[in-house]
């Protein structure tokens, strides 16, 4: 490296270190968010330039002379050499979901520092490495999926674990993101009207793309964007109309049933009719809004009003119970490392990679971008005053349902807020109330509205920006919901088809309806459980999702470690073993505490015992409906504990199986056989 280059990187490292130092030591006066952004950007640049390069060429040995499966098996459909920037766009659109937006918002209850550090460090050393190495492994194996690789490189049991984990994660993931949408739309006629309008817009686009202009995605998406923006603006008039507002104002339970119905219909209908056009629209709006948020933060350079650390690092947080370790890491989830990404990285992307060196940009760089999205979400959370942040995100079961009571509770924690201030804020953003709007989406929307409305003099459009942000988040989530249900249905059909062949036929409608109903029923159950949970469903469901997601990441890293060992890269095993070890510690600790903690807010079984004591109390005579509700809560707690234990046991079994294989290879008791595709010389230019 030339001298000027070295000076540049040293200067960048210094800026990053100063930024980190400032955000870590900030006390009293709020810091400008640009310091957080600058620190993150510097560290990402350093991580990509040095660490990813080290992993690419020293650890993995990327070789552009080798033909990738896109070149060797080019069939113009599934395998096709693709421009690396186009593929980066596809891959990023595939991995960027609601997780890096919602997780940091929730984790901000500890203050911005723990979450930010994990997003950056965990991302660079964990998530980016996982995505990169999985992509590389799949490219060397003709684009085989994680399930197939786990089966051939670890064991048959490993393959089955991945399959089970995928369905389980999808079920919990869809339930929890659906809960986020329900909480964002309850008692919000403007929000519900906007989201509901997306469905007919998607139908219009579907017909346009199918019959009028097949494949003309850009013009269809532009048309869709204009129609959706019209819906966002028209939503105000619906909300203010005494005639129409009641038709778009529903309780959480009713909204949950609506979303369940939507999920079922969207996954059963032909994909061109609703799912695909809505996904195209969501992708463009998603990418555009992320870019807009980045520009908005740079232009608005807001102050971070949330402190670096709050009192809730002690585990008594209102949004979810549990200390920073392990729950900050579990909650951030996809913002730093996501096992689900390993499915994407071993899905379509490896089949389209033109050169092995492109895996560095797409695998490592793609996850780095997602981590940066999480940083921006954290910034959006920090621009809220702490009292406002906690007023929006704290469930009624913790702070009280009445505004005055909630405001008094939160002020008593040292975060002043008044019901009048919250009423004014709700009015400014066009909502009836912002109290108890748990799940992260409304507070993210308020933060984004604050940033956008303070940019380019658009102060009078706070309500429009808020509902635009709600629409953007809901679109993100609907994508996960219907596409995830559909994929889950395919997996179920594949499994059930082994027992009853007709069920495995994807064009046999009775089978499609049955398996879709099973999948929707599974996540719908958890959604309804979360909606009825007096502690706020996020408290129980989000950690379940986090644990499940990290389980899959553990499997992916076990696979990566096994393959590195087989490649003879023993001295570099720390690259995957270090994040693996950390993940196992976090996941196991979280699982243990969620099952066995004596704190009823934290431990599922402790909460069940507390409910059972209520039921058995001779003093209180409960009405039959309340007794039935308590009975259901007890069952749900035990179900959640069982699901958590299953995840934990699976992690341990995979780890034990992998460790057994590693010892055999390390001692020379088993010959390492790599199942890579044969190396052929590439004819494509570099």
């Amino acid at each position: 490296m030339r001298f000027i280059g070295k000076v540049f990187w040293v200067a960048l490292a210094a800026v990053g270190a100063i930024g980190l130092g400032l955000i870590a030591s900030a006390r009293g006066e709020p810091l400008n968010a640009l310091w957080l952004v600058a620190a993150a950007a510097c560290l990402y640049a350093l991580g990509y330039r040095f660490y990813s390069r080290f992993v690419a060429y020293r650890v993995l040995g990327l070789d552009d002379r080798r033909a990738t499966p896109a070149e060797r098996l080019d069939d113009g459909h599934d395998f096709l050499p693709t421009n690396k920037w186009v593929l980066f766009g596809h891959h990023f659109a595939a991995i960027a979901g609601p997780g890096p937006l919602v997780g940091p918002i929730l984790a901000a209850q500890f203050g911005y520092l723990p979450g930010t550090l994990w997003i950056i460090i965990g991302g660079l050393l964990g998530g980016c490495v996982q995505d990169f190495v999985t992509l590389f492994c799949s490219v060397r194996r003709d684009g085989r999926s994680l399930v197939q690789m786990a089966r051939s490189e670890v064991s048959e049991f490993g393959g089955w674990t991945v399959l089970f984990a995928v369905v389980a994660i999808m079920t919990i993931l869809i339930a929890v993101v659906a809960l986020v949408v329900v909480n964002a739309l309850k008692a919000s006629p403007w929000g519900l009207f906007t989201i509901a309008a997306i469905i007919p817009v998607a139908f219009v686009l579907g017909i346009y793309l199918r019959y009028l202009r097949p494949g003309k995605v850009l013009e269809a998406s532009l048309l869709g964007f204009l129609l959706v923006m019209a819906a966002v603006i028209a939503g105000r008039y619906v909300a203010e109309s005494p005639h129409w507002a009641p038709y778009f104002t529903y309780t959480s339970v009713t909204l949950a049933w609506m979303i369940i119905l939507y999920g079922f219909v969207a996954s059963v209908l032909p994909v061109w009719m609703l799912l695909a056009p809505r996904d195209y629209l969501a992708t463009f709006i998603k990418l555009g809004t992320i870019l807009l948020l980045a520009v908005g933060i740079l232009l608005a350079h807001p102050l971070m009003l949330l402190p670096p650390l709050t009192r809730f690092t002690d585990g008594t947080g209102p949004i979810f119970a549990g200390k920073v370790f392990p729950f900050c890491f579990i909650t951030i989830a996809c913002g730093a490392i996501s096992g689900f990404h390993s499915l994407i990285a071993s899905g379509t992307t490896p089949k389209l990679l033109t050169k092995e060196s492109h895996a560095r940009l797409i695998g490592y760089g793609g996850m780095m971008m997602e981590s940066f999205v999480a940083v921006m979400a954290m910034v959006a959370a920090t621009v809220l005053r702490p009292g406002v942040y906690f007023a929006i995100n704290s469930p009624a079961g913790v702070v009280g349902a009445l505004p005055e009571r909630a405001a008094a509770t939160i002020s008593g924690w040292g975060f002043p807020v008044t019901s009048a201030e919250m009423a004014d804020l709700a009015h400014r953003v066009g909502e009836i109330t912002l109290f108890n709007r748990t799940g992260g989406a409304p507070s993210l929307a308020v933060g984004m509205a604050h940033i956008f409305s303070h940019t380019l003099g658009m102060g009078g459009l706070e309500a429009i920006w808020y509902h635009f942000a709600i629409m953007f988040e809901a679109l993100f989530i609907l994508t996960v919901l219907d596409a995830g249900t559909r994929v889950g249905r395919f997996i179920l059909q594949d499994l059930l088809g082994r027992l009853a062949p007709p069920l495995g036929r994807t064009r046999w409608y009775p089978g499609v309806i049955l398996t879709s109903a099973l999948m929707v029923g599974a996540w719908g159950y958890f959604l309804l459980e979360g909606v009825r949970d007096p502690l706020g469903g996020i408290n129980s469901l989000w950690p379940l999702f986090g644990i499940a997601n990290q389980l899959l990441a553990t499997v992916a890293l076990c696979l990566a470690t096994t393959i590195l060992l087989k490649m003879g890269k023993r001295r570099y095993l720390a690259v995957t073993l270090a994040p693996l070890g950390w993940l196992v510690a976090v996941t196991m600790t979280a699982a243990f505490e969620k099952v066995w903690s004596p704190n009823p807010r934290l431990g599922f079984l402790a909460h069940a015992r507390a409910m059972a004591a209520q039921l058995a109390s001779p003093v209180a005579s409960l009405p039959a409906a309340r007794a039935a509700e308590i009975g259901r809560l007890i069952f749900n707690d035990r179900l959640d504990a069982t699901v958590t234990l299953i995840f934990a046991v699976l992690v341990l079994m995979i780890l034990a199986e992998s460790a057994r294989q590693w010892l055999l290879y390390a001692r020379g008791r088993k010959i390492a056989v790599l199942s890579e595709a044969p190396a052929e010389l590439s004819r494509l230019p570099a």
């Binding site: 459909h77 766009g89 979901g97 097949p214 850009l218 032909p270 689900f340 996960v480 559909r486």
Partner: protein, 58 residues
């Protein structure tokens, strides 16, 4: 300079949105002596392939 950048961006977005995929497929099919699918059928085929595997993350 600005025109060049905008043209490059437009080309990128068209490529990323898959708007050139059908033409590429059609030329390839013809070079192999195969009858290409109609644009609508090709579009449906692509969608079915895309949404039959995990392609949207959390």
């Amino acid at each position: 300079m600005l025109t060049r950048i905008l043209k490059a961006l437009w080309h990128y977005f068209r490529e990323a949105a898959g708007e050139n995929d059908y033409e590429r497929y059609r030329l390839r099919a013809l070079s192999r002596g195969e009858a290409p699918l109609a644009p609508g059928a090709f579009y449906i085929d692509c969608l079915n392939r895309k949404y039959s595997r995990p392609n949207r993350c959390c």
